[in-house]
């Protein structure tokens, strides 16, 4: 009888153990370890050797390379988020009314979400090739997109925007289907034109999902890595040295695990602060 009680008491925990164990081992523990490492200078094996306190952080904040990386990441995030949300919104609106072939088109618009950043980057590499690439051929130019510091970041950002546009299409489609169709009919009867309907009905109706999509997109854009690694290797110069690529390079090429850990912590803080700010703004601004 007692045994049965014990098992009854314990069984709820048994079901969550597999999930919690993975979280503890590969998320919480390494997260704390990252914070710990960020306070040390490490050897090549990544063992903490010398306690430097905030030393790694103050080194970073006096390094031009790190500020460049933050700056480049900010611009990257701005381009990726605005372009991919715009693409998602346009395609979702195009697929909102029924017409012949709508199923094929909506699959096409969502498709980029199934493609890996690294594979996409290899395709874009050829598309942007200075002599045989289709972009130069279509535009009649001879630009070397990837090795020109003016264009490289924009290229990587547009590639990422394309990749993210697929899931944004799904989010916005779901948002649009939640808007009551009779609202549009009534607006038409009252003589509203399409622009009015778009700004007064569609956009406010989308605002809850718009907010969610914005948060997800920003978090995702900060984590871009594969496309940088394959397309530009952070270059030319450091013009596409996004924060995650910078972490990767510091840790696995320069073996400065402490500095890389400090950058990881900063990345986490930036994402967390942005997310909290947006939730705070959402409480004020978004109407349900």
């Amino acid at each position: 009888m007692k045994l049965k009680n014990v098992s009854r008491y314990l069984s709820p925990y048994v079901y969550i153990v597999p999930a919690i164990a993975v979280f503890v081992l590969f998320l919480f523990f390494p997260f704390i370890k990252t914070i710990y490492l960020s306070l040390f200078k490490t050897n090549k094996m990544g063992q903490a050797k010398l306690f430097v306190g905030g030393g790694n952080y103050s080194d970073l904040f006096s390094s031009a390379s790190f500020f460049n990386s933050l700056f480049v990441t900010a611009i990257f995030v701005l381009i990726v988020v605005s372009v991919s949300m715009l693409l998602g919104l346009i395609t979702a609106i195009l697929c909102n009314q029924s017409f012949p072939g709508i199923r094929i088109f909506s699959t096409a618009y969502a498709l980029p979400m199934a493609i890996a950043s690294s594979s996409a980057a290899m395709i874009f590499k050829i598309m942007l090739h200075p002599t045989i690439g289709i972009i130069n051929k279509l535009l009649g130019l001879h630009t070397n997109w990837i090795s020109d510091p003016r264009y490289a970041l924009v290229c990587v950002a547009l590639l990422s925007a394309w990749l993210n546009s697929g899931i944004n299409f799904l989010y916005f489609s779901a948002g649009l289907s939640n808007i009551d169709n009779t609202l549009y009919e009534r607006a038409s009867v009252d003589g509203a034109n399409s622009a009015q309907k778009f700004f007064r009905l569609t956009l406010p109706g989308l605002s809850p999902i718009m907010f969610y999509t914005l948060v997800v997109n920003i978090i995702q854009a900060f984590q871009a890595f594969g496309q940088v690694k394959v397309l530009t290797m952070g270059g030319p110069g450091e013009s596409t040295n996004l924060i995650v690529y910078s972490i990767y390079r510091d840790a696995f090429f320069n073996y400065r695990f402490g500095s890389a850990a400090a950058q990881s912590v900063i990345l986490f803080m930036v994402i967390m602060i942005l997310t909290l700010c947006m939730f705070h703004l959402e409480k004020k601004g978004v109407h349900y």
């Binding site: 979280f23 523990f29 290899m122 289709i134 912590v265 990345l267």
Partner: protein, 302 residues
């Protein structure tokens, strides 16, 4: 419109009224058809534009490499060939990479569905101490980006001598907070009395999950499976760090071995890329309906 007709009815006779009505209806029909046509054409353009990278890749994959190097616009191969695919398969152990990716993505998908549904079951049907705190803790993991833990994870697995094995690719990804959240959202729609009456009839917890919850949440499981499989198939940073030999590389890392800009290999590299995109796109196209139904009926509205 009705008020116009009413007003008109006072002044004109019924014949004229009929004609007037017909005219308006015809006009409306025409307008609707025209707008549908415009919409279809617009969609065609946008879809072509957005799919251009993929269509271009497929075209290059079938293009003999001597055709590639012209300054003319050559969108479609004039003599399509499978040669590039054969060469890609010969140059790198692509079959092995594809098998590796299927093993890794398959185990991750299965593992996430099992661990997430078990955890979500406990969080939604059982009562225990610290339930809310634990659930908050699980949700908090969504705030930690994978990149913030990747260095420590790498150091941990290398000290465990796990580098270059299947388990190092699979085990860290065996659960996900999003999955737990998704399943719990679905389970919330079931009345607790369903669980209680099953218990009274002598149904064990595991059997309740197996024969009642899982059949009832097929759409959530389908959505989760599609989403997880695609993400695992497309994983890049982690496999790049923890695999070193040809035996363990996954497709996304292995395909990088074809990456070079010398003239002969461009079409071969794109052929390789096309081959590794096909599985994830197929899973997506087959599972798209499930994915949309599962993700948006429970999660977003809630």
């Amino acid at each position: 419109m009705e008020s116009v007709i009413e007003m008109a009815a006072k002044d004109i006779n019924s014949d004229e009224l009929e004609n007037f009505k017909k005219k308006i209806l015809k006009k409306a029909l025409f307008r609707r058809r025209a707008s549908k046509l415009i919409l279809t054409i617009l969609n065609l353009f946008v879809a072509l534009f957005l799919l251009l990278p993929l269509l271009y890749a497929v075209s290059i994959a079938f293009m003999p490499s001597n055709e590639l190097f012209t300054t003319n616009l050559n969108l479609i191969p004039s003599t399509p060939t499978f040669n590039n695919f054969r060469q890609a398969m010969a140059k790198i152990p692509l079959k092995r990479f594809i098998v590796n990716s299927f093993v890794v993505a398959g185990f991750i998908t299965m593992g996430q569905i099992i661990s997430c549904s078990l955890a979500a079951f406990s969080f939604s049907f059982l009562d225990f101490k610290g339930k809310n705190v634990l659930f908050m803790l699980v949700m908090a993991t969504m705030m930690i980006p994978g990149e913030a833990t990747i260095i420590s994870n790498y150091l941990t697995v290398s000290s465990l001598k796990w580098l270059d094995t299947y388990q190092v690719l699979i085990i860290p990804y065996l659960t996900s907070a999003m999955g737990i959240f998704l399943f719990r959202q679905f389970y919330k729609s079931f009345p607790i009395s369903l669980y209680e009456s099953a218990r009274i009839d002598g149904c064990s917890n595991l059997r309740f999950i197996y024969s009642i919850l899982i059949p009832l949440t097929k759409s959530a499981i389908g959505a989760m499976a599609v989403y997880t499989f695609i993400n695992a198939w497309n994983m890049y940073l982690w496999p790049l760090l923890v695999t070193g030999s040809d035996k363990m590389r996954t497709v996304q890392i292995g395909i990088g071995m074809l990456d070079s800009v010398d003239s002969q290999s461009i079409s071969m590299m794109i052929a390789g890329v096309v081959m590794i995109i096909v599985p994830s796109i197929s899973v997506f196209i087959i599972g798209q309906k499930q994915l949309i139904r599962g993700m948006f009926s429970g999660a977003v509205k809630g």
